[in-house]
Subunit: 193 residues, 2 copies
Amino acid sequence: MLHLQSESTARWLNQVDRHLDEVLIDHAHCERKAASTAMNLMTAYTEDRELCREMTRIIVEELEHFEMVLELLQRRGIPFRRLASGPYGKKLNGLIRSSEPDRAVDRLLVASLIEARSCERFSLLSEHIQAKDAELASFYASLFESEARHHTTYVRLAEHFAPRDAVRARLDQLSKCEADIIIEGCSLPRMHS
Amino acid sequence: MLHLQSESTARWLNQVDRHLDEVLIDHAHCERKAASTAMNLMTAYTEDRELCREMTRIIVEELEHFEMVLELLQRRGIPFRRLASGPYGKKLNGLIRSSEPDRAVDRLLVASLIEARSCERFSLLSEHIQAKDAELASFYASLFESEARHHTTYVRLAEHFAPRDAVRARLDQLSKCEADIIIEGCSLPRMHS
């Protein structure tokens, strides 16, 4: 359902165990960035009525999550701060083709894959910390559904810009690249490291 | 209350009378752009907790308004489309100083003045069309309050980056420039022409 071609490994969970605070701060940034991405897509393809409607929904949800993570940080006494970005988003965005309508397809599919990976990691994180941090486990379990829905929405919207078969083929290609980026990993502890 | 130093004139109302459809389309774009501006401010000053909270509120409201204008266009059979931007936003953004924290002050005050001008024009438009288009008059009257509130919020947030006196002095300067831009006008029929 999520079109992912790799599973997150113990390497990432080790990073989470050693640097949970930093991963939580990064998660807040991820939610804000996800809202920002949806806003940029709405600006770029503003004549697409359904896209605007869906982007509005996604922006509102991501900003709610952003607030929720900020509140969680505050409750835990973790100061929110800027973080250097990991390479995940930059590498994925580097795969976006430059000419329209390919560009629209790729922007939407890259957004869909980021949502899918968040979804997979939220689920993994939730299970992993269940025994020692029930509040956090429950929080991540609660976010799972909306991230999965956003993934599906982005893939469906990509079909406004190319035939379904072409979109599926491109999603398969991009998803392979995404899996490689995840396997390569990153030494900074991040939600997508 | 709105810190404006000029009133919109009959010149603008003439443009509205002759090109109402285009002004309505531009209004939809204005709402989307206002949401986008708030998102950019949240990205730039993300460590300011109150700013993030207020930007979230503004984004959600502006996107609601965007949807409302799109629905109004649809009901009236006016196709939504891209429009060349008028010079108003560009000229105002050109006044923003480049070094922080002045830049933050100016970005927030420019946003506050755009909200103030929208507020003034919504009110004027609402009165002007009351007799011949009660639905539209009522719609613009309903938007007045939130635009005025956004203006006040932006001015208050500017005081996170400079002392109150400095903010008021700068608001006065920028407001004079804004008044000049409005007096100069623009031949394209726009919400801020």
